[in-house]
Symmetry: C2
Subunit: 208 residues, 2 copies
Amino acid sequence: MARSTGRMRKDSERGSDAGAAERRKQILTEAGKLFAARGFEGASMREIAAATGLLSGSLYYHFASKEELFVAVYDANIRMVSEAVRKAIEGVEGAWARLEAAAIAHCETLLTGDRTAVLDVKFPPSLLGVRPRLIQSRDEHDRLFDSLIEPLDLPEDVNRNLFRLHVLGALNSAVIWYRPSSHLSPADVARQVIGVLRYVRKGNTPAT
Amino acid sequence: MARSTGRMRKDSERGSDAGAAERRKQILTEAGKLFAARGFEGASMREIAAATGLLSGSLYYHFASKEELFVAVYDANIRMVSEAVRKAIEGVEGAWARLEAAAIAHCETLLTGDRTAVLDVKFPPSLLGVRPRLIQSRDEHDRLFDSLIEPLDLPEDVNRNLFRLHVLGALNSAVIWYRPSSHLSPADVARQVIGVLRYVRKGNTPAT
DNA sequence: GCGCCAGTCTAACAAACGATAGGTTGATGG
DNA sequence: CCATCAACCTATCGTTTGTTAGACTGGCGC
């Protein structure tokens, strides 16, 4: 009744109405926030719709189901982080410098704005049907980090696979405790994590 | 009708019936599994009750609400990990050896059995009322690790607070990807994480 | 053997959930 | 000016949610 209806194309993008793909992005953004804050089961379609300025039923015009919406959110978020990382390492020389640049981009994309990403989700059984697709998305990003870790001059006894999990685990854990109010920037967090790991090289010896 | 009713005290602890505090522990165990697998909102009281061999209403004899049950689970889990860590470092000499022993105990308690703990939870707003109590539980365990990190001979530019978050972040992230089927033991994971960080000492210099 | 009480079940409540079917709107292309 | 169609709303379905009130059961003290 008081809400806006129909659509509006060429001009006047202001206001609560938007184009077709525009709305999709809005929904993805708002759903991303809510999924990150409350988890898959915790966030309701009604909440997501309300956050976008819609009613619950209207979501099903853009996404077939809640599962499908989650997959789209997850995929978009991973793609966003991956792209930021790729851009950040462009032209950077030196294996450690490249890993640090990647970590900074990774952290910044995860922690800035209100688009807190959903990377570290332990997928609930309700998402079992789409689990393979979610894991595939994450895998692509993992392979990107693998390619950055491979050229490091790590000691022989260091398992590079576990090393990647170590790095990403430490970085991703920041989404739990990080508050923008702190005097720390997301880049600071990433720099400390990588800065500490820089000590792990062939020339050095571990403490006993 | 076919179910067991009433109680049973002194003898014959076998079967599905149990004493007062016994039941409480059963509920905590099963609820712990389900909360860990599905999150706070994802696990229903009926599921938890069924897993314990009860009906949903009966849970409210032992716990006042779902929130209260979660607090009890979370608290019990943290206390369990903390106690395991305290026992593991008993009599161990050397700052790094103590931290490694702690990390192993931490990982083993988190990853073994079916009692996957709920440590890295980003608390949903539904738990806002009890959030302070949850954070306090976690803080106690954090202080324990602080006391282990303090005596390390870390370089001056290493922030010990971020270092603790780094260590626990890397260790806790294992609950996401770790599968017991792997040839890796929980202790292996902990050893690799600490083994890598052992390179961070005053004598060494970071890679450029 | 009788009453008590811990512990569990039964049955139901209102609220919220994901999802669907069909109506309504307004810009657009002819 | 009319037909079309994307985009949204309305209303509702059946299910599941957390929670409660009250009935029941069986062992224990007296």
